[in-house]
């Protein structure tokens, strides 16, 4: 029994199910938002798991997800911008809530790790996660409006 893993399980079940529901129903714009929030919901779960298993090396997964997840969303925002036009797919309340949760998780894991190189890595992940999430949301709500041929 391990509190970190339990937290990760809850986060995974809640975030994963919500993301799955969001990405399979509704208009395309809503689905892209759900895809974006998947990153934000599952990246903290990966951090919690790394902590729970006592394996600092698993943190690399969270790092890569925080880095690549928003890139994936930007791909959709860029290549689906025609579908997104006219709709304003922004769920800012939800976005901030999920970003705040990510920040809380990073802070908790940081507290458990203690200062050092590992903590710097965690902070980088936190920054990438929150920043990437907000930027991707911004991109979804019309950053590529003018894009035509490119």
């Amino acid at each position: 029994m391990n509190g970190w893993v339990l937290a990760a399980t809850v986060e995974l079940a809640g975030g994963g199910a919500a993301a799955l529901w969001g990405v399979t129903t509704g208009p395309t714009a809503r689905r892209v938002v759900a895809q974006n929030l998947t990153t934000a919901a599952l990246c903290p779960a990966l951090l919690l798991l790394a902590q729970g298993y006592g394996r600092p090396s698993y943190v690399d997964l969270a790092l890569l997800l925080a880095l690549l997840g928003p890139v994936g969303t930007l791909v959709f925002a860029r290549l689906l911008h025609e579908d997104l036009e006219g709709q304003r797919p922004s769920a800012w309340g939800l976005t901030y809530a999920v970003a705040a949760m990510g920040a809380v998780v990073v802070a908790a894991v940081c507290a458990a790790t203690g200062p050092g190189r590992a903590m710097v890595k965690l902070l980088v992940i936190g920054a990438l996660l929150v920043g990437g999430n907000l930027i991707a949301s911004r991109a979804l709500s019309g950053a590529f409006r003018g894009v035509r041929g490119g």
Binding site: A13, T38, G72, F76, L80
Partner: protein, 86 residues
């Protein structure tokens, strides 16, 4: 306890796989595939395979959706050009 988290991840992956098949529009399928990729990465982590998880993140979350979306875009652009030429 460890088994519970594996169970949750497995069920989510099964659900995402079903959804990916059920989405008949390729662009929407690509969205589900990218979520499936991330869920798989989590499943691989809980199965204690971080190497595979990293690989799946890199491929499933970005590369495959990007390839699919570029194909979709090419087809749409072609359709638009055709309509315009008519």
């Amino acid at each position: 306890m460890d088994e519970a988290v594996i169970l949750v991840a497995l069920l989510l992956v099964a659900g995402a796989a079903t959804a990916a098949v059920a989405q008949r529009d390729p662009a929407r399928q690509a969205l589900v595939l990218s979520v499936l990729g991330v869920l798989l990465a989590v499943l691989f982590t809980v199965l204690q395979a971080p190497d595979v998880g990293l690989s799946q993140l890199a491929v499933g979350a970005v590369l495959t959706p990007l390839l699919v979306m570029l194909s979709v875009r090419k087809i749409r652009r072609r359709g638009r050009d055709r309509d315009g030429a008519r």
